[in-house]
């Protein structure tokens, strides 16, 4: 029996600027089941990182949020920063793209762990906390003797494994990984993805994986959303979205992805729009080869074309 751990309804995130609000996430609906991995793909500036930050309550002060975002039946958008801090690290955790900038160069790995554990489990003694840390590190293939080392003494892949160990040390229910392997080489990337898969299996964790790499989504995720200019273009099982894409943007993205089987490349004309003044109607219409009048006038709704497979396109039926 699947159970929903995270649910967004009409979620909006706008960054106010002098030139008007930036519509980074502009009304999206999704849910995440326990033990499920959801991929969020899209190009630079489509709002996928903002989506991740809103789940973790890491949006900059002054950001305007709307709609609803529920984590285990608690409304995240209404949480105060102190409540969010309690939740983060304990029930949900984040893995960043660049581990070097997230570790304090003046703190040993042990101090990093102690800090995290102390915030949430003040009742644990130092020795118990170190035991927890050593166990988390060991599960990532790093011996406990390295607890005394500083971040610069580790390679990039090891640092990322340390970050993951810190994220999962308190066994959170939800993990948000924002481009967790983009700074790494392919072999280390594959090692890290194997680790994430094992973790999911071992702890039944739910994972939101934000990436621009379609290959990673296909290999690791159960379902995926394709984001374009702050909106969802398509949402469905990885199998449906990759093999039977409906939205012309998804089709274009898949066709322009270079992979080992690529024979012929296609590209999408034009450029992603500015989130300051997104196009009217369907945001993809200026770049869409199938666009008609209605695409300029009316915003398409997310329609379920197959069980669990949604797309926001006026002519979705033509592509099913």
């Amino acid at each position: 029996m699947s159970e929903t751990i995270l649910e967004a309804k009409g979620l909006k995130v706008h960054y106010p600027t002098k030139r008007g609000p930036i519509h980074a996430v502009d009304g999206v609906d999704f849910d995440l089941q326990i033990g499920e991995t959801l991929g969020v793909v899209g190009e630079t500036g489509c709002g996928k990182s903002t989506l991740g930050k809103s789940i973790l309550g890491l949006l900059p002060p002054g950001t305007e949020v709307g709609g609803s975002l529920k984590f285990r039946d608690r409304e995240l958008l209404k949480l105060r920063p102190a409540e969010f801090r309690k939740l983060r690290g304990e029930e949900m955790a984040l893995i960043f793209q660049d581990p070097m900038t997230r570790l304090d160069p003046l703190m040993t790995i042990r101090d990093h762990f102690l800090e995290t554990i102390h915030v949430h489990r003040a009742e644990l003694s130092k020795a118990e906390a170190i035991e927890l840390a050593a166990e988390a590190l060991r599960s990532m293939g790093i011996p406990r003797s390295r607890l005394n080392h500083y971040p610069h003494e580790f390679s990039g892949g090891m640092r990322q494994r340390i970050m993951i160990a810190m994220a999962v040390v308190l066994k959170p229910k939800l993990l948000v990984a924002d481009e967790p392997t983009t700074a790494l080489d392919v072999i280390v990337e594959a090692q890290i993805l194997d680790i994430l898969r094992d973790l999911k299996r071992a702890y039944g964790m739910s994972l939101v994986l934000i990436t621009h790499n379609l290959g990673i989504v296909a290999e690791v995720c159960d379902r995926t959303v394709v984001m374009y200019a702050g909106k969802f273009a398509e949402l469905g099982s990885v199998n449906d979205v990759f093999k039977k894409p409906i939205h012309p943007y998804t089709q274009g993205l898949l066709a322009s992805t270079i992979h080992l089987e690529t024979k012929e490349l296609r590209s999408i004309d034009g450029l992603p729009p500015s989130l300051l003044s997104p196009p009217s109607g369907c945001r993809f219409h200026p770049r869409c080869t199938y666009a008609k009048d209605i695409c300029v006038r009316e915003e398409p709704a997310m329609i379920e074309y197959r069980p669990g497979h949604f797309a926001a396109c006026h002519f979705g039926r033509d592509f099913v």
Binding site: I142, P143, A190, H212, S256, I258, T262
Partner: protein, 431 residues
Amino acid sequence: MTDAPLLEITDLKVHFPIKTSAIQAMGRGVLRRLQGARAEAQDDRLLHPRVHAVDGVSFRVGRGEILGLVGESGCGKTTTGRTVLRLLEPTEGRIVFEGEDLTHRKEDELRPFRRRMQIVFQDPHAALNPGMTIGQAIMDALLLHETRDLGEAKHATLRVMDEVGLTPAEDLFSKYPVDLSGGQKQRAVLARAIILRPSLLVADEPVAMLDMSIRARILELLLELRNRYGLAYLFITHDLATAKFVCDRIAIMYLGRIVETGPTDAIFRDPKHPYTRALLAAIPIPQPGLVRVRTLPRGEVPDAIFPPAGCRFHPRCPVVLPTCGWEGHDFVDYLDQRRLNPEQAAADEAAIGEAEGWHSDLFEARRRVRDQDPTTVASYVESILPQALEAMRRAVAGVDVVGDEVVVRFRKPDPLLPKNVEGRLVECLLY
């Protein structure tokens, strides 16, 4: 001779010294003496450490050919690319371009060649001067090398902008980099590189910074320019899929060496070097449901200051042989590896002390034993060797007691030479 290569690189080495003060170097020497190291040629490697960024690389690029130089970060591909253009000084080796040896040419002698060999960098945002219009930036090279006539230069600039798809050229000519998108900037950089009609273009990750939907068009433009002008590329990338799409031949680099070179089709159809195989197996493929059985190499790329002996891939290789270059360092790593198991860690520490007490000296690992009987330590070491990787265990020549030291000695590796295997050059003892 028509089949002479456009570019021929022979045994190129580029080493970067690590700056240490004389006192640091002396201190290190004294420390090592205290630890019991003998004064050997080995000491030079330790007292004057150098990053072996490129360490004996040979390849050729024919006219109009696209050679891919593919490898992970830190493998030396970018250093190779820059040294080919003499933007970095080679430590050893030979660079022959259009039949002329450029290895030791002085800067002013290089100038006439510079217009024949150009470079395109990864980051188009950083490659363009924000204070110069696009037109000025592209025209600059022409004014420097070819003509002083502004009208003529502008005319040629507009034409080349048209060729790379920077249209309307007339409008974009007076725009600044800030007004252009990433893809357009990379086109401008390309226009600037080809305006002097070079015969060789070193393209260093030219599409890595661009979004997927834009990458394809830049790659197509590169192919088009090759077809139109017979331009040759040294195409440097970490992305095997991109390399497969553009390159005629591919050279796979690992830690300063080329491990496999061959026609693109052959390398992707049937990779020979275990490292090439590992790279190919690691690439995520956007096909859901695809079941892939793969053995990923252990660990990560080692330090280029002390690259592994023998084949540099040996400590990570899934099919490694006893003759591949096992050395003292590998034994110390093995001790470190054993600590992942808490029971083994405790037993090891009680019997032979901390792994830090061991130090490696090329084909030996040694530890000074003071408060124990060295022979018991030696026999414990022998007792844990059978649990090590078989290839490493079989490479151990002996565990000896020399004075108060325990020494683990390894056999010397077999010489490693590139061999021709089914139409490609492979540097691996399997063949």
